[in-house]
Structure formats: C-alpha cells, structure tokens
C-alpha cells in the first residue's frame, strides 16, 4: 500500500515537473538568443504577463484558444520590438530598461484585466494531446506523453535552438554580434539589425510562455500569474551557460524543485507552505552562485554597439 502511494507521488512529481518546465524553457530559450546577441532583456517577466493576459483576453472574447495564442505571439513580438528600440537604437542601460518594460507590462495587463474582466473567469484551454500507444505506457506515459502540445513544442525547441544557434548563418551572426560586434560590423553584418531580430525572437517566445500559463495550464488569469517566472528564466540562461542543453537541465532542475514543493502541499505534509514556495528561488540563487564566475559569458553582453562618429 505504502509502496503504491510512494510510486504515485513520484510519478506525480515527475509529471508535474515535466509540465512546469515549459514556460521556463520557452522564455529562457528566447532570452538566450537575446543575450547571445549582446542584449540583456530583463523585461521578459513583463512580456510574459502581457502574453498571458492577451492570450486569456482574446480567448475569453472569442472562445477560441488559438486566437488567444496568436495574439500572445503578436504582443510578444511588439514588446520585443519595444525593448529593441529602447536598448539597441537608443542605447539605454539594459538592466534599468528591462525593469521599465516589466513595470509597463505588469501595469498594463493589470489595468486591462480590471477594465475588461474584473474577476476570476475560466476560459477554454488547450487540452492534453493524446498520443496513441505512447500515452498509454504505464507511468512513463503519464510522465512524458500526457501534456498539451505547447509542452512538446518547448522540448522540441531545445535541439532546434541548438541547431539554429550553432549550425546556421543567422546563429553565427547572433553569436558574432554578441562577442565581437566590431568585427561583425567590419564584415558587413548589421549589429543592430541582428540584435533586433534576436530580441524579437525572445519576445515572441516569452509571449508564448505567458500564453502557456493562461491557455495551456490554468485556463484563467489572475494578477501576477507569472510570479517571477520571467526573472527565473533570465537566471536560467546564466545557469545554462547560454547553451540550450544547459537551459534544459536548469529548467528541469528548477521545475522539479517547484513540483516537489507543490506535491508537498498537496500531500498535506505539515510544513509551512510559504517556506516550501521559497525553495525554487533559493535553488536559483544557489545555482547562480555555483555556476557563474568561472564561466564564459558573451563578451558584449549589456554593451550597446556604437559605430563611432560615422553613426
């Protein structure tokens, strides 16, 4: 009997963990491209909030989660563009402009939510995608193959991001403008254009990560639904050493810690739940402390590119 409960708990923790990694993966892979190109986008959290909200709002009005999803991507695109305008063209201090973007996204989604919706309302979401055979495998099936398609997409994006970053001309340009922008410029690569593209990719993926929270997971919207996930995604990029596989490992470590804390609450183990909620954040700080410092970072990260007097 006890054996079965323990097994059920383990399957539960793992299955939830696999699912919870999705928004971190999406947002962190996008942020990886931005940082690889030399721009530190701290506004990811704000973009995710906007993506989550607009995905919810459009689904709420149209009843079709796919329209919601589309609008999240558009909002992510626009927010990425805004960040690029401020940080690339106008060369603003990136840490601060990211906080500005965060507050803008937070305030605007909060404003519109209270104007249009007001309370907790549920919307139709994306259900789990049932895969023949695979989903029916005991244990493994429910851990790995019983999720909606955004989850699979997020995991699929790991090798795709790796391929794009290291095996395509565009990926080479992104890495070049993030390490030696002057050299890239000399070779005729438009540094600012590549940074715009990378920030927009990051914005769209963060929008999708936000949409996953409302349309794919909760089927509703609540204030501060992202709960710092965007910031954690930024930290995961550092933790994963700007590499998709490292980001995958970080996302899983983090989401498993998160899942464990959720299951501790569900199982009714007497432990102040606030202290359990802290666990993932402590994990992140510890992970940063042990991983950062000795490792390579994109050399031009945080440094706006100035072509000099030629302008």
């Amino acid at each position: 009997m006890e054996h079965i409960i323990q097994q059920g708990l383990l399957v539960g923790v793992l299955a939830t963990g696999v699912r919870l990694a999705t928004p971190f993966l999406l947002a962190a892979l996008g942020e990886m491209f931005a940082q690889r190109s030399g721009v530190f986008n701290l506004g990811i959290e704000g973009i995710m909030m906007m993506g989550a909200f607009f995905g919810f709002l459009v689904t709420f009005f149209t009843g079709n989660p796919y329209f919601g999803l589309g609008s999240s991507l558009i909002v992510g695109f626009l927010m990425g563009l805004l960040m690029a305008l401020v940080s690339v063209t106008l060369k603003a201090e990136q840490g601060i402009s990211g906080i500005g973007l965060y507050m803008f996204g937070w305030g605007l989604s909060g404003l519109l939510f209270r104007l249009y919706v007001g309370g907790i309302t549920s919307i139709p979401g994306l259900g789990p995608l049932h895969l023949p055979v695979l989903s029916d495998i005991p244990h493994i099936g429910s851990i790995l193959f019983n999720h909606n398609w955004i989850v699979y997409l997020a995991y699929l994006l790991v090798p795709v991001a790796w391929f794009v970053l290291f095996k395509t001309p565009w990926g080479l340009r992104v890495r070049a403008v993030g390490t030696t922008p002057e050299a890239a410029d000399t070779l005729g690569v438009s540094v600012n254009a590549v940074r715009y593209q990378a920030l927009i990719v990051g914005g769209v993926l963060a929008g999708l990560a936000g949409a996953y929270l409302t349309i794919g997971q909760a089927n509703m919207y609540a204030d501060n639904i992202t709960a710092g996930r965007g910031f954690i995604a930024v930290a995961l990029v550092y933790f994963g050493r700007w590499n998709p596989w490292g980001i995958l490992a970080g996302s899983l470590l983090f989401s498993m810690a998160d899942s464990f804390q959720l299951w501790v609450q569900v199982m009714g183990i007497t432990f102040p739940y606030e202290l359990a909620v802290v666990l993932p954040y402590v994990t992140t700080i510890l992970a940063l402390a042990v991983s950062v410092g000795r490792v390579w970072t994109p050399a031009a990260l945080g440094r706006p590119f100035d072509r000099g007097s030629r302008g």
């Binding site: 500005g100 507050m103 937070w106 404003l111």
Partner: protein
C-alpha cells in the same frame, strides 16, 4: 570614461567661473526639459491606452492631477506616499552611483518592516526615546543584511545582482507572509477567528507623531528629508562616498587607484538595503502601526523611478518622490472617482523609466539631437 571626465575637470577649471555657471544652468535646464518630456510622453501613451480601452482619458487625468492638490487630504497623502519613495530612492541613488543595480527594494522593505514590528512588540514597555531609534536601527540593519547578501554574491561570486535581488524579493515576501500569518499574527485575530494576516497593533509610544492633526502625515517625512541631505554630503563630501562613486564610474580604474572595489560594492548594496529597510519601518511606525499584507505596494520599484527621475541625485530625488507620490495617489483617487484601475500608474511609471533611460543618449550625445531635428524637418 574616467579619462574624459578628468579632461572635463581640467577644462572647467580653466574656464572662468561665469561661463561655468552658464554651462551648468544650461545642462540643468536641458535635463529638466528632457525629464518633463519623458513624463509627458509617458502620460500621452497612457492616455492613448485608456482611449483604446474605451475610457475617457481626460476625465481620468483630470481626477489624477487635481485630486492630490485640491485638498488638505490630497496634499498630506502625497507627502505620506513620497516618504517611503524618497527613502527607497536614496538607497537606489547610492547603489546606482556605485555601479550596482538594486532591484531588491521590495524585499528589503519587508525585511525592515517585519523586524521593526517584531522588535517593537517584544520591547512593549520600553520608553520611546530608546525604543524608536532602536527599532529604526534594527530595521535598517535587517534591510542592509538582505541587500548585503546580493552585494556579497556580486562581489565574491560575481552573481548578477539584478537576478539575485529579484529572487531575494520573492524569498522575503514568502518569509514575511509566513511570519505575519503564523508566529507574529495578532492574537486577537486568532481569538476572534478572523485570521487577517497582520501583527498586533504596536505600543503607542513608538508611533511617529503626526505633523498635521487628523491626517496621516507623520514625522517620517522629516527623517527622510534629513537623510537626503546626509546622503548628498556622504556621496560628495566624504572619502568613502568619493570612492563609491569612483567604483561606479569605472571599477577597473578604481581598482587601479587602489580602491577595494569588492568592499564598496557590498557596502553600496548594504546601504541601499538599509534605506529600503528604513522605509519599511517608517511605513509601520508612521502609517499602519503594524505589519500587514501588501505593506510595500510596489514602493521598491517606484523608488527606482523616483531616483532615476531625480537624475540619481539625493536632492533631486526629493521633488521626484513628491511627483511620483502624487502620481500614485492620483491613480488611487482615479480608481475611486472614475473607476479606472490604479494599476494604470504602474504602466505609466514603466513608460517613464523607458523614456528616461532612452533619453540618456540625448544628454550623453547632445549633437545627436541637433542632427536628428533637421533630418526630421527635412522629411516633412
């Protein structure tokens, strides 16, 4: 960078005093114009967003801008909100000037607030002249340690301080909630079974005196103003302050000059945390007289806006805090008056940050403006 400012110094000292003053006034006016431009642009976008959301922006802004100034209540409440903003902003000025970004104001405020409340409740019977300074110092120390963690992580392990402070915010919030729901909860809330998460009312002698009767304006404002002057003296008239600014201007050059960069980074973060912790204590002793849920209400972020709007100058942060305080109060009044959500003001503050940091380029490269304007004119 360091080289340029050195040359600039020589250049200025060679000029006669008069010309120097004119130059100063001109750049001062320029800065003010750019700041006002940033604010107007943010408000304009806010108006457009309201219009898109089918709300009347004129009615909203009318309430938002006349409300805070049209009554004794409005004016005193503006000052009540400006007080924590100024305190947090002063810490932000110190940290940003030292080249380390403190985004952890929210967590440090809570650390200070809960420490202040707990200590005042434990030392119930102590006399005010001893208890109040003790409580304030303890709150500042709590904030300083919370900020100092991020400073230490940055200096010793080069952990990005923005990320660590953001994480520390979440951790502080959860610990704070745990404390006011659990060990520190008001025994009466338990006795009556209402269970509102807040501490018991603090002993009366630690309450800050009210400056205007029948309003919430309290002596914390005077404390904050005094500290603003003190921070100015500290940063520009003491060796430690000079070294901190040197670290901010260029850590490599500062290290070359024999300054212990790591130490000053930790100090900057601890001081920033101390000011935020103090802001938390001031909210507890001056406004709420207990620690309760939602105590900070975004002051940790709005303090950044105030500091940036004050051009990262301790004295400039005073009018900037008043302005942001009025905006926040105005938004609350707008919510009550014409039921437009106060969340609006967070979006406006975000836009203000974006515009202020974007317009920095105009201050750094004024020739850009003169080059851009004719080009724009030609296009038309």
């Amino acid at each position: 960078m360091a080289r340029r400012s050195l040359n600039e110094g020589v250049y200025l000292s060679k000029m006669n005093r008069n010309a120097g003053t004119i130059r100063l006034v001109k750049s001062w006016m320029q800065q003010l114009l750019i700041l006002l431009g940033a604010l107007l642009a943010a408000l304009l976008i806010g108006a457009i967003l309201l219009a898109i959301a089918r709300s009347n922006p004129i009615r909203a802004y009318y309430v938002m801008f006349t409300g805070p100034f049209s009554s004794r209540f409005g004016i005193t409440e503006t000052l009540v909100r400006a007080t924590p903003l100024l305190l947090v902003g002063l810490g932000i000025v110190i940290s940003f000037r030292s080249g380390i970004l403190n985004i952890g104001g929210e967590g440090q405020i809570l650390a200070g607030a809960v420490t202040a409340a707990a200590l005042a409740l434990v030392l119930q019977s102590w006399p005010a002249p001893v208890l109040i300074p003790l409580v304030l110092l303890a709150a500042a120390a709590a904030g300083a340690s919370w900020g100092g963690i991020a400073g230490w992580l940055k200096a010793r392990l080069s952990v990005n301080e923005i990320l660590s402070t953001v994480m520390l915010n979440q951790i502080a919030l959860q610990i704070y909630l745990y404390l006011i729901r659990g060990p520190l909860i008001d025994p009466q809330e338990v006795a009556y079974g209402t269970g509102v998460p807040q501490t018991a009312l603090l002993p009366r002698q630690v309450w800050f005196p009210r400056l205007v009767p029948a309003t919430r304006l309290h002596a914390g404002l005077i404390l904050a103003l005094l500290l603003a002057v003190l921070v100015y003296v500290f940063l520009w008239r003491t060796t430690i302050g000079y070294r901190m600014r040197a670290v901010g201007a260029g850590p490599a050059a500062a290290r070359y000059a024999g300054i212990r960069v790591e130490f000053y980074l930790i100090l900057a973060m601890a001081l920033a945390g101390a000011f935020a912790g103090l802001a938390g204590a001031v909210e507890v002793l001056g406004v709420h007289h207990r620690a309760l849920e939602g105590l900070s209400g975004g002051y940790g972020f709005s303090g950044i806006v105030a500091a940036l709007f004050g051009r990262l100058h301790p004295l400039g942060t005073i009018p900037a805090s008043l302005l942001i305080g009025a905006l926040i109060l105005g938004a609350d009044m707008m919510q009550r008056g014409v039921s437009i959500p106060a969340a609006m003001v967070m979006a406006i503050q975000g836009l203000v940050i974006l515009f202020v940091v974007s317009s920095d380029i105009l201050l750094r490269q004024p020739e850009l403006l003169s080059r851009m304007v004719p080009r724009l004119a030609k296009k038309r």
